[in-house]
């Protein structure tokens, strides 16, 4: 009688164990199937990718070609911009040089016509030749109508020999004065030779001559603006000298007349 409950208990324990084993097997099978499914899914994705690979490759090649074209276009644009930049830089330099030249020309012209005093005009011409052209050895000669020669009005750095009057038609300076054309030496042949002679004229009438023997040490030669300044001096300096001479004569005459009038008044 006592054995029956034990049999039932053993049966239950066996049943539980069998149930446990079954559950474990089901779980294992489940895991195996899950892994199998994952592997199949991965295979399927790989296969799918393999199927679309040529298509993707073609698309990527097309994109690559498009990017290359864009890159080429950007390179061409960059080249254009660089060329434009260089052109602007060159233009800037040219404009700067023109500004500088215009400033010099404006100052020379402004100064030459700023006075009617003869001595001041001569001094201004001297300042222009020293400070704007940059000469340290030159002379300004004015025409003596009676003697038909040019005598020294002012100079900088000249020795006595170079201060002598210029005879029209003789020597480099005299020839330039006779022809009325500016003379520029390509290179200096001797110490006594001028490097530039600029006749100062009003139309064809010669009033004076600037003779330059040497530039400042820091100047290698004449620049474009120097030739423009010489052209300006040839006309404007002559006009300024002429006007100041006329003004001086008029002032002198006026003074004489006033003195005469006062004398007449006092005699009355």
């Amino acid at each position: 009688m006592d054995k029956q409950p034990n049999d039932k208990s053993d049966l239950l324990i066996r049943l539980f164990e069998e149930g446990k084993n079954f559950t474990q097997e089901v779980l294992k099978e489940n895991e195996r199937l899950r892994l199998l499914l994952a592997a199949q899914k991965a295979d399927s994705e790989i296969k799918k990718k393999e199927d679309t690979l040529p298509e993707n490759l073609a698309r990527l090649e097309m994109e690559n070609r498009r990017y290359k074209e864009e890159l080429d276009q950007l390179r061409r644009t960059l080249d254009d911009v660089e060329a434009e930049n260089k052109e602007f830089a060159q233009k800037y330099v040219t404009v700067e040089q023109q500004n500088s030249s215009l400033a010099n020309l404006y100052v020379a012209s402004y100064r030459l016509h700023s006075t009617l005093d003869f001595k001041e005009v001569i001094n201004i011409i001297k300042e222009i030749v020293i400070n704007l052209i940059g000469s340290e050895m030159f002379g300004l000669f004015l025409k003596d109508e009676k003697l038909n020669e040019l005598s020294l009005a002012t100079q900088e750095g000249l020795d006595d020999k170079k201060c002598r009057p210029v005879l029209i038609g003789f020597g480099r300076a005299g020839e330039a004065a006779e022809k009325g054309d500016a003379y520029y030496a390509a290179r200096k042949e001797s110490e006594d030779d001028p490097i530039a002679c600029i006749p100062l004229k009003i139309h064809d009438r010669l009033l004076g001559l600037i003779v330059i023997y040497q530039l400042l040490k820091q100047k290698d030669g004449f620049a474009q603006v120097d030739f423009e300044l010489f052209n300006l001096l040839a006309d404007h300096a002559a006009t300024a000298i002429y006007c100041s001479q006329l003004h001086t004569q008029a002032e002198r005459k006026l003074s004489t007349m006033q003195n005469l009038l006062e004398l007449l008044k006092s005699e009355k």
Partner: protein
């Protein structure tokens, strides 16, 4: 901020007109015609920079430079010497006396603007 003030010193009106033309749009300019007047003006006006010729009557640029470096009011003002003669001795003397920089005549616009701007910054 107002414009910086520059004292231009030269006995040549031609150079003063040229420098005014080149610098006038960017700076306030005051002028003096010799070293003595420059010294008086510098003490009174305290400019930000002085641009001074060397060869001048009454008191030349070198004497004016020496005097400016001796006065407390002017000893720190940058001074650029402008010279016709580019001999090294003269330039060396100016540097020994405390000039900041120098430029040669004929004055080149770009060089002048660069040196002025450099010494004012």
């Amino acid at each position: 901020m107002g414009k910086k003030r520059i004292l231009l010193v030269d006995d040549s009106e031609t150079i003063l007109v040229l420098e005014k033309l080149m610098l006038g749009s960017d700076y306030d300019l005051i002028t003096a015609k010799n070293g003595r007047l420059a010294l008086e003006t510098a003490i009174r006006e305290k400019p930000d920079l002085i641009l001074m010729d060397i060869m001048m009557p009454e008191m030349d640029g070198i004497e004016a430079l020496r005097a400016m470096r001796a006065f407390e009011q002017t000893q720190k003002i940058p001074i650029i010497m402008v010279t016709t003669k580019s001999d090294q001795d003269r330039v060396d003397t100016c540097y020994k006396l405390g000039c900041t920089d120098y430029i040669n005549k004929p004055v080149n616009r770009e060089e002048l603007l660069n040196k002025v701007s450099k010494n004012l910054s």
